[in-house]
């Protein structure tokens, strides 16, 4: 769920959706999502002062609360 959510948002914010790659690492209590996008699209998924990234994290917190699992989003 969390992965698809980030994928949908990233795909729809970047200019080059083919370069959106999202890796998911799971441990019993947490999910780590590693998002990679084209270099020129970095600003679009991070935003000024990280505003976009923080908004995505805020939405992930809803999933996190519902599913009782820790979700970490890394962008690089």
């Amino acid at each position: 769920m969390a992965k698809e959510l980030v994928e949908y948002i990233a795909q729809n914010l970047v200019n080059d959706p083919s370069q959106v790659h999202l890796k998911e690492k799971r441990t019993p209590s947490s999910i780590i999502l590693e998002l990679r996008v084209a270099k020129s699209d970095m600003g679009r998924v991070i935003g000024k002062q990280g505003r976009v990234a923080n908004a995505i994290r805020s939405l992930l917190r809803v999933v996190s609360t519902k599913d009782d699992v820790r979700i970490i989003l890394e962008i690089d």
Binding site: N15, V62, R70
Partner: protein, 294 residues
């Protein structure tokens, strides 16, 4: 649940109220929350004047602490937790970001339009009666699609109503209001409406890219914003009257940008008061200063 008070719960005792709140929010532990005791329970005399305990649960902005072996369950919040400080705003942007101002020229192609939203809400939402049920236009339709997809992926059961707001500032194109209803609204609204702001921000960004122009939409949940807006307008007038009467500056509690804006807008036509914002970040608040006639 009254969406106006999304995170307030009552119970016979403080503990019962917290437990009820946790259940409602679908949480297991109280360690995700700050508990504010709004009212201690009172027994009353022969049942007269008895009232339940009332607590406000504030979702912490942070992720839960890293999983560590926890031999004991987290302590139940006690009444003394009242003064527990709010956790500082999360500074979770470690990655350097390329400035969005520096756009390579090829991104000015038709696809590469970027839209920035300076404020959470450019509009003061007037009371419910001011919305016309209207055939949704493009913004409303595309916005609804995007919002619905986001909510589906978040696992939030929802229904979205699209309404067109009436113009409340001259010459402006009234926004489409997308109001979400469903069982998880308090979770979706979040502390001080922060989650809802994020949801609106992401919805607007994606919708704007799809439309190739700035999407004129507002996202609300359980009419939280319109009700809150109404209450803030009443509060503004009341506090302004008080400031004038006592000839003293009145300071309001800290509010997010969109709510401060409602206070400023409500009072901007009053010659007897001035409004200013003071403080930084989470602590930023509005003060109402009486204008003294000399």
């Amino acid at each position: 649940m009254n969406p106006n008070e999304p995170l307030e719960f009552t119970g016979e005792t403080v503990d019962a109220a917290v437990t009820a709140g946790l259940a409602k929010l679908g949480l297991q532990h109280s360690d995700l929350l700050t508990v504010e005791i709004l009212e201690e329970p009172a027994r009353g005399i022969f049942g007269i004047g008895a009232r339940p305990a009332k607590v406000r649960l504030i979702l912490r902005p942070q992720m839960p602490p890293p999983p560590q072996p926890q031999p004991t369950p987290p302590p139940k919040p006690k009444a003394e937790n009242k003064a527990q400080p709010r956790p500082p705003k999360q500074q979770n942007e470690p990655k350097p970001s390329p400035k969005s101002g520096q756009k390579p020229p090829q991104q000015n192609s038709k696809k590469g339009q970027d839209f920035d939203f300076e404020d959470d809400d450019e509009f003061v939402i007037a009371d419910d009666g001011n919305y016309e049920a209207d055939t949704p236009g493009e913004d409303g339709e595309v916005g609804k699609e995007v919002l619905s997809e986001l909510l589906r992926l978040m696992g939030i059961e929802h229904h979205i109503t699209v309404k067109r707001a009436q113009a409340n500032r001259d010459g402006e194109n009234p926004p489409y209001l997308l109001d979400i209803t469903g069982p998880d609204m308090s979770l979706l609204i979040g502390r001080r409406g922060e989650t809802l702001s994020s949801l609106q921000y992401v919805t607007r960004l994606i919708t704007s890219r799809k439309l190739q122009r700035r999407a004129n939409i507002i996202v609300d949940a359980g009419a939280y914003k319109s009700k809150r807006s109404e209450r803030l307008q009443q509060l503004a007038v009341r506090m302004a009257d008080q400031a004038v009467e006592t000839k003293r500056t009145v300071q309001l509690e800290p509010m997010p940008a969109n709510e401060r804006r409602i206070i400023h807008m409500t009072l901007r036509n009053r010659p007897d008061v001035e409004t200013r914002s003071h403080g930084e970040g989470e602590a930023r608040k509005v003060t109402i200063v009486p204008v003294l006639n000399k």
